[in-house]
């Protein structure tokens, strides 16, 4: 707990935290101020749809880069070796760092949303869902960033690798799907698209948040049943379990990598 609090205060004091707060606030206020939701509009309008797209594009990049940079920095400054001498399991060490970072980012994002709500009018449900979406992205992105940062030999490598992961999972993901799934038989394409969602937590979160905010027919009649299910309690629980499972797997993999390295060092 002591170490966690040290981590927590350290991340809160970093300049990046203030930059993040400012960035999110500006993004939310700029996009929200461009078009206040009309009384006749549904909860899912092009204002918050644009917000969804922007958040889904930028937040994973920021979070992954920051986390990877932190772990790369730890490795480069040999601080990681010092920390590895503590009587702690590797998973606990990774989890401590990860959860402290997550808590800091959750605080920053929540504060950004709270401050933005002074200028942007949206239904409370929309705010809450967007906030949950942001937290989901941060949690998943930070886990990916942790794994990439641990693998990277130095800061530059960690940053480059996390950038590459972001390009594949965010920027090129539709291109990859279009390229692969177009070759599949027509009858299984929709199932393949749904299956692919569970390979990419960012996409899964995006579709889930769209399902919660929009009508079930947002993605066309072909997905109406699936989107309706995703909006329900079971669907939400499955999404949550998938994301949590993915995060724990990535953190476990990072801890395993560190243990392996520790053995190499002692040998």
């Amino acid at each position: 707990m002591m170490l966690w609090r040290i981590e927590w205060s350290r991340t809160l004091r970093q300049k990046e935290s203030y930059v993040f707060l400012f960035t999110w606030m500006v993004t939310l206020v700029l996009l929200g101020g461009l078009g206040q939701a009309l009384p006749v509009a549904t909860a899912y309008t092009n204002v918050n749809a644009t917000l969804l797209t922007i958040i889904g594009l930028v937040m994973p990049l920021f979070v992954m880069l920051t986390t990877a940079l932190q772990w790369g920095g730890e490795r480069e400054s040999k601080r990681l070796r010092l920390v590895m001498t503590y009587p702690l399991s590797m998973f606990r060490l990774v989890w401590m760092r990860y959860s402290a970072f997550l808590a800091t980012q959750a605080l920053i994002v929540t504060l950004a949303y709270a401050l933005s709500s002074f200028f942007v009018s949206m239904p409370l449900k929309t705010w809450v869902v967007l906030w949950a979406y942001s937290l989901g992205l941060i949690a998943y992105g930070a886990a990916l960033g942790t794994f990439v940062g641990v693998i990277g030999r130095n800061r530059l490598q960690a940053v480059l690798m996390s950038f590459l992961v972001w390009i594949v999972l965010i920027l090129l993901w539709p291109t990859v799907l279009v390229s692969v799934i177009a070759w599949m038989p027509y009858g299984v394409q929709a199932e393949a698209m749904v299956g692919a969602l569970f390979l990419n937590g960012f996409e899964l979160l995006r579709v889930w948040v769209s399902a919660v905010l929009a009508a079930p027919d947002l993605f066309g009649a072909i997905y109406e049943t699936f989107i309706g299910w995703l909006d329900g309690t079971v669907g939400t629980a499955v999404v949550g379990a998938t994301i949590v499972g993915g995060i724990l797997s990535l953190l476990g993999a990072a801890a395993w990598w560190l243990r392996r390295e520790g053995r190499h060092d002692s040998a």
């Binding site: 040290i6 927590w8 205060s9 350290r10 809160l12 206020v29 101020g33 461009l34 078009g35 206040q36 939701a37 009309l38 006749v40 509009a41 549904t42 899912y44 309008t45 092009n46 204002v47 749809a49 969804l52 797209t53 889904g56 594009l57 010092l82 605080l107 929540t110 504060l111 709270a114 401050l115 709500s117 002074f118 200028f119 942007v120 009018s121 965010i170 920027l171 993901w173 539709p174 291109t175 799907l177 279009v178 799934i181 027509y186 394409q189 929709a190 393949a192 698209m193 749904v194 996409e203 995006r206 769209s210 929009a214 009508a215 027919d217 947002l218 993605f219 066309g220 072909i222 997905y223």
Partner: protein, 395 residues
């Protein structure tokens, strides 16, 4: 004293009036109203089954102030009209079949008809007739609220149609004006097909339901004018296919999944519409020679000359929709951040994109929206941050 109390109780619960039996008058054959005759039902209720309850023939017959109920197996109309200049005023129909059928007529006026159906047949049908005026119709739970086939010069004023397949369904008439329609919770608000010179103005067309969920649908409609309507909460606000010279002016098309969907719609004029707050403002394929200017799309704008028009054109790329037309499964990519990149990489040619050369500039508004809850939450978070920083760093 107790007896007085009982009397008071009895007096309090006693009925205040004695109602006469108001059962419906069963009709075996239709009541035929001939030229220049007037039938005033004075609120009486009639029931019919196999055949219409009332039939207006000749010239200038008037039917007013009646209630009609049809038996469950009825398929024909409750009121059948043929001829010239008839009037039907304040007629209320509980229809199992069609409510009012107008055929081969001219100058018929239906004033404040009220039709409640069972979803099987149409509310009001007008076949091969001219200059029919329907004012203040209230229609609920029928197949098509008002169905007009052929004919010319019809005028619909303030129709209210709900819970039906099509609120208004036009098939091949010309010169129809629909003023102030209120169409909601139908599968399609208004279906306009094979028409010429139809005007739809000052309407409220919203919250259509079901897989189609369209506010207005134009198919092979020529010279349609859609002006000053509020079209919101539908799956598609306005759908136009193979329709030429359509004028869509000064409408509010908001809060729909897709605001405008245009397919092979040429020679259109779109000006002064507010198409903000839709999931997708516009989807256009193979639509050419359109004049599109001064609409508010809710996109990126820049007004350097301060004339209210943006110097940045609005360009709607139908890339994903063209893709989803071939592979429906890719609809799941709507709104994916990476799609913005894909759209840039695989940019559609200009002849298939809809471009508003000078959209209405979006004014950036910042209004104070503060609430007590947000203030308290912000304060608590700032305090948490402040105290969270205070821990000494031992490492």
């Amino acid at each position: 004293m107790r007896r007085l109390g009982w009397l008071l109780v009895l007096w309090f619960f006693a009925p205040t009036a004695v109602h006469a039996d108001t059962g419906a008058v069963p009709l075996e054959a239709p009541i035929v109203i001939q030229s220049n005759e007037t039938f005033n039902g004075e609120g009486k209720r009639f029931s019919s089954c196999e055949r219409p309850a009332f039939q207006l023939e000749g010239t200038g017959a008037v039917l007013e102030n009646v209630e009609i109920e049809q038996c469950d197996q009825a398929r024909g109309p409750a009121v059948f009209i043929v001829g010239l200049g008839h009037q039907v005023i304040d007629v209320t129909i509980e229809a199992a079949g069609t409510g009012i059928a107008v055929e081969d007529s001219y100058g018929v006026r239906l004033i404040r008809p009220n039709v409640t159906g069972k979803g099987r047949e149409d509310g009001i049908t007008v076949h091969d007739s001219g200059v029919t005026v329907i004012k203040g119709a209230i229609i609920d739970h029928v197949r098509d609220g008002i169905y007009i086939e052929n004919g010319t010069g019809h005028e619909l004023v303030r129709p209210l149609v709900t819970n039906s397949r099509y609120g208004i369904h036009l098939m091949f008439p010309t010169d129809v004006s629909i003023m102030s329609p209120n169409l909601h919770h139908n599968e399609t608000g208004a279906m306009v097909m094979g028409t010429e010179r139809v005007r739809i103005e000052n309407g409220q067309i919203y919250d259509q339901v079901g897989a189609s969920g369209m506010g207005l649908m134009l198919f092979e409609a020529v010279e349609t004018s859609i002006r000053a309507n509020a079209i919101y909460g539908n799956r598609v606000g306005i759908y136009a296919e193979k329709s030429e010279w359509t004028a869509i002016h000064d409408n509010g098309v908001n809060g729909n999944d897709i605001g405008l969907r245009l397919k092979r719609a040429n020679g259109m004029t779109l000006t002064g519409n507010d198409v903000t707050n839709n999931r997708y403002p516009v989807v256009s394929f193979e639509a050419a020679d359109n004049v599109i200017v001064g609409n508010d799309w809710g996109g990126q704008t820049l007004d350097l000359t301060r004339d209210g028009q943006s110097e940045i054109p609005y360009r709607a790329d139908p890339y994903l929709f063209l893709l989803a037309d071939s592979y429906e499964a890719f609809e799941l990519l709507y709104g994916a951040p990476g799609l913005t990149v894909l759209e840039r990489v695989l940019r559609s040619p200009d002849d298939v994109t809809l471009t508003d050369v000078s959209p209405r500039a979006t004014s950036f508004e910042l209004e104070w929206q503060g609430t007590v809850g947000a203030t308290v939450l912000s304060g608590l978070l700032i305090l948490l941050w402040r105290f969270g920083r205070k821990q000494d760093d031992y490492l």
